[in-house]
Amino acid sequence: MIDQYSLGRILSTVAIAMILRIAPWPDFMVALNPDWVLLTLIYWTLALPERVGIFHAWTFGLLTDVLTGRLFGQHALAYSLISYACIKFHKRLRPFPLLQQQLFIFLFLLVSQLLLFWIKSLHTPGQLPAIFWLPVLTGTVCWPLVYKTLRFVRLLHNSK
């Protein structure tokens, strides 16, 4: 069942994801830091597609743009595209075992990173190192963790 509390939970998990995004990691980890906000968003769009829609994704994307000081709209664009795909495929993705889900998560993160890369290369010349793509991998690796944690958060709410 869904009630008004779930939005608070969604918002707080997204806030935590944003904190993780800008946390002062040691230098070698900054380049590996996965897109926590997107992972959280993917989870919620898969779990509660009737609750979290493209508009939420777009808003969170805008907030992430402000948070990380990007050009306005690039995260919004990527997040709304990914959330559309998630909502479209949520029935197919949900019963998958985690390993198979990770494959799709990998694809989603790759598409998102690709979009960010294109937008970045459109407005600033200059190359990025190959390590730019590593957050896609680390994000895929982190997916089971995100999944389990957020599932716990969601069920915690249901049992009450």
């Binding site: 800008i22 919004a76 200059g126």
Partner: protein
């Protein structure tokens, strides 16, 4: 629809600063998160101060006092030199820019994005900070304000790949541009020919061209290099003077844009007291005639 909206946003912001109010508004929502992330570090620092012993504090106090004496005695001479310089410039019929104020801002421990040397400080437009203000530490130029938000501002360091700063060599006044290398301890000087008069150990100071940075502040020291006769431009690098990765306190500078009229003795920089935090700072070491040149903006 979200796609169209995002693309529209992207294009609008790329072209004009019209979306800044929106960003400021959203940043009010987001900034608490930044402070939250910074909190553990701040709490750690505060406890460290609280539990440090009296003897160590006394020792520190002594060192600081001695330093202050030395600095003060240096400043005594500086005042006279400055007046003399203004008189000389009046003889040459040059105007002289003077008077800068600083605001001390504290760094927030946040990593915004990899591959970019952008740091966040805890002072924003509420303190009168605006984009393109120069930022210093006690050793030299740190960078410039890239984006000012209500409660925080983003500062682009001089070592950022997209940053360039007009400099001159203190020894002979050779003008060039120092470009960020993407590494915190290195600046590139890509626009000098092989026969340029530049030596390892030369001090680079801001030239004041471009209008963003006031003239005369130290930027970096030229590293060792070997002239390459096969290439048209030698690979000259410099080490920034500012402690880019170690400082928590930075100074945001306001430069007075009105030149002082000729022949008039300068009144000691009277503060534009919009804000009580502003402190006057007498640091205008004249190096070049400050002439307005094309604005060199370094946008992401």
């Amino acid at each position: 629809m979200a796609l169209i909206a995002s693309i529209a946003l992207l294009i609008t912001e790329h072209k004009s600063p019209r979306l800044d109010p929106l960003r400021s508004g959203l940043s009010v929502l987001i900034d608490p998160l930044k402070y939250l992330v910074d909190m553990p570090v701040m709490v750690f620092k505060n406890t460290q101060t609280a539990i440090s012993s009296q003897t160590s504090l006394k020792a520190e106090n002594k060192v600081l006092r001695e330093e202050q004496y030395i600095n003060k005695s240096k400043l005594l001479k500086f005042d006279a030199l400055e007046k003399e310089n203004i008189r000389l410039r009046a003889l040459l019929e040059n105007s002289f820019k003077l008077g800068e104020q600083v605001l001390i801002a504290e760094l927030l421990s946040i990593k915004m994005a990899p591959y970019e040397h952008i740091v966040v400080v805890n002072k924003g437009t509420r303190f009168g900070v605006h984009a393109q203000q120069p930022v210093l530490d006690t050793n030299g130029i740190v960078g410039q304000v890239f984006r000012a938000l209500p409660f925080s501002s983003e500062i682009m360091l001089i070592t950022d790949l997209n940053h360039a700063i007009p400099v001159q060599i203190n020894r002979n006044g050779l003008l060039t541009i120092a470009v960020g290398s993407g590494q915190l301890n290195r600046l590139n000087l890509p626009f000098l020919p092989n026969n340029a008069d530049i030596r390892p150990g030369d001090l680079l100071i801001t030239s004041g061209l471009g209008g963003t940075f006031p003239p005369g502040y130290p930027v970096g020291v030229v590293d060792d290099f070997t002239p390459e006769s096969t290439k048209p431009f030698p690979a000259i690098t410099a080490t920034p003077k500012a402690m880019l990765d170690r400082n928590r306190e930075l100074m945001i500078v306001w430069t007075k844009s009105t030149p002082i009229p000729l022949g008039v003795a300068p009144t000691t920089s009277e503060a534009d007291t919009k804000n009580t935090v502003l402190k006057p700072l007498d640091t205008a070491i004249p190096t070049t005639t400050s002439k307005p040149a094309t604005q060199k903006s370094n946008h992401d």
